[in-house]
């Protein structure tokens, strides 16, 4: 039988841990307002959803591990400065005391099927809390049949859910010349279907960049499709959107959807 003194010490210790966790969570909730997204970035059609595994990681160790995988790491992490990409900088600025570890495994040219295999290996090796998966553009360029693409993505999404890893899908890129490309649009719609069916976050990169292109075009008078600066501006937008999505997902208290009036603050 347990000694009553030990029991009371145990209870006191458990209470202290509980109170600490609760206060950390409360303090965090009170402090954190999701970072805004520049108005120019348009609406990426993100539906705020909780990221329960990342929230638990934050509470337990004040640290989240993000695995970035897919075609272009710059596209999801944002441009780097002093060794840390924009996404990391926004997140660490927004959530006080948060340590963000980004594991970048963006090998370009890879199709969804191969990336899915690599995601499984990287999850086994690194145990990330969130996977940022930029997917679709390569498959569309490589003319992968839509049903094969959908099956590959769905299989990986389900595997990640089974293994308690949060997932944010980052969709296809935008270019005016691709608006009439039937296969490109079919892959885009397919990714959207998977996100809805599997109830996972998808950031509509295409939609966001389309708005951005119009904004840039109206500002400069240049034909948007010739403006290669769009790509770089798109990187900034994606990093902002992802940072906002992660923050909202972790604290599960969505203030509002869509872009704000204040750029990037």
């Amino acid at each position: 039988m347990a000694n009553p003194m030990h029991r009371s010490r145990l209870l006191a210790a458990l209470l202290a841990i509980g109170l600490t966790l609760a206060s950390v969570a409360a303090a965090a909730e009170a402090e954190v307002a999701p970072p805004a997204v520049s108005k120019e970035c348009g609406d990426a059609g993100v539906t705020d959803r909780p990221l329960p595994n990342s929230a638990a990681a934050l509470q337990q160790r004040k640290r989240i591990k993000i695995l970035a995988i897919g075609a272009s790491s710059t596209a999801v992490l944002g441009p780097g400065r002093n060794g840390s990409p924009l996404l990391e900088r926004i997140l660490e600025k927004t959530i006080k005391g948060l340590d963000v570890e980004i594991i970048n495994r963006g090998f370009s040219g890879e199709l969804a099927e191969a990336a899915g295999e690599r995601i499984r290996i990287e999850v086994a090796l690194n145990q990330p809390d969130i996977v940022l998966w930029q997917v679709g553009t390569n498959d569309a360029f490589a003319q992968v049949p839509v049903d094969e693409f959908e099956a590959s993505v769905s299989s990986t999404v389900r595997w990640l859910k089974e293994h308690n890893v949060d997932l944010i899908l980052v969709g296809l890129q935008y270019a005016k010349s691709l608006a009439k490309d039937a296969h490109y649009q079919a892959i885009r719609m397919s990714l959207r279907r998977v996100a809805v069916a599997e109830n996972v976050l998808r950031i509509g990169r295409y939609e966001s960049m389309e708005v951005l292109a119009r904004t840039m075009s109206s500002g400069t008078g240049q034909p948007e499709v010739e403006d290669f600066g769009l790509t770089e501006a798109g990187y900034n937008c994606m990093a902002q959107y992802i940072a906002r999505t992660i923050t909202v997902g972790i604290f599960a208290k969505p203030p509002k959807t869509g872009p704000s009036a204040e750029p990037g603050k």
């Binding site: 596209a75 060794g83 199709l111 003319q143 691709l178 769009l230």
Partner: protein
């Protein structure tokens, strides 16, 4: 005169054609390459045969008996040649991507194959390309080859003075890299080399060691029938697992997981062992192929004899194939034309290289 068709050149040519096809992701003919029935693919074959060819070069020309300095210069020169070729084709690949993006008004093409960093941050990325710390997607095997040829003199010197040490040292480095999980970093985009040189050196050294008839090479030659009997069921089992996707969930393996995973970047043991079993089994097949279809062994051996030129042209043709498939859709007709024209151009490259050599020897 170019040397006669032989097994090493034939399998090297086979690897080059497979790499050309596999580097056009999504192409119809990708499903017919051997990686669909195997854990390993043409990359293992290519690097293993590069090590084997080093053995033939060193022992065939008696370089191992001479002084270390000329050997180092000769292999260092080869490394410089591969480096120059890599920088050249990387530059051309970037130009091809830029041209395709510009002519089709499709900026997302600039993001293909890790090229985005070059167009967004050209100063640092250009430096990264020169330092081999920035590699374009599908243009990442030559940097490994450069490093392997740079350290090849050390392999040869160890093999000369302490032959029993070479393989244990190589496998020790291999296992340490797997267990401790270290590799070469990339820069300016933070990440890792696609082909970890610390692990991939093991297959290169194995090729080198097995190429000559002493030590492990002697043992394998004496026991090749028994080795093939053991290897065949492994090859069949791997084919079944690969075809039906039966490889276990990687999260279920114990630590150190890397010893059990099926991963290309680190050349995990399962890939290495399956490759060695495959090589043991298929080393018996070449004489049969040479008798049954000599019209295949000739051209493939010619490709293998001129592997660097063919590899470089093949890399650019693979990228062209990807751009063509994007522009004209990936129908079976387009894919067939891409593959036939591509292999034809690879053969033309090899033929031109040998024609030039013949001119040189006559002049």
């Amino acid at each position: 005169m170019p040397r006669e068709a032989n097994a090493v050149d034939f399998w090297r040519g086979f690897a080059l054609v497979s790499i050309f096809v596999n580097h056009i992701p999504g192409i119809y003919y990708e499903r017919f390459t051997h990686r669909n029935l195997s854990f390993s693919d043409s990359a293992e074959l290519f690097v293993f045969l590069a090590g084997w060819s080093l053995g033939l070069l060193v022992y065939g020309n008696g370089l191992h008996k001479g002084r270390a300095t000329p050997l180092t210069f000769r292999l260092g020169g080869r490394s410089l040649q591969i480096y120059t070729a890599h920088i050249f084709i990387s530059g051309l690949a970037l130009s091809m991507l830029a041209g395709a993006a510009y002519l089709t008004d499709t900026p997302p093409i600039l993001d293909w194959h890790n090229a985005a960093a070059f167009f967004q941050d050209p100063a640092r990325t250009q430096l990264g390309i020169a330092l081999l710390t920035h590699q374009l997607g599908y243009f990442d095997i030559l940097p490994l080859y450069v490093v392997l040829m740079l350290i090849a003199p050390a392999f040869v010197i160890i093999d000369r003075f302490a032959p029993a040490l070479l393989l244990p040292l190589s496998l020790g480095l291999y296992l340490t890299a797997l267990i401790v999980h270290f590799t070469a970093p990339t820069w300016p985009v933070e990440g890792e080399w696609f082909f970890n040189p610390f692990t991939w050196q093991a297959i290169f050294v194995l090729g080198f060691v097995l190429s000559h008839d002493r030590g492990l090479g002697h043992f394998v030659r004496c026991n090749i029938t028994r080795i093939r009997q053991i290897s065949l069921p492994l090859v069949v089992l791997a084919a079944i697992v690969a075809w039906f996707g039966l490889y276990p969930d990687p999260t279920r393996f114990p630590e150190p997981k890397m010893l059990f995973l099926h991963g290309k970047s680190f050349l995990t043991p399962v890939r290495l062992l399956q490759f060695l079993a495959l090589a043991a089994v298929f080393s018996a097949v070449y004489p049969v192929i040479a008798r049954a279809v000599p019209w295949i062994t000739g051209p493939l051996s010619m490709l293998g004899r001129n592997s660097l030129q063919v590899f470089c042209v093949g890399s650019l043709l693979s990228l062209s194939g990807q751009i063509i498939r994007f522009l004209y859709s990936g129908s079976l007709a387009v894919d067939t034309i891409v593959v036939i024209v591509g292999i034809g151009l690879l053969c033309l490259t090899a033929w031109l290289a040998e024609w030039r050599q013949r001119l040189g020897s006559h002049g």
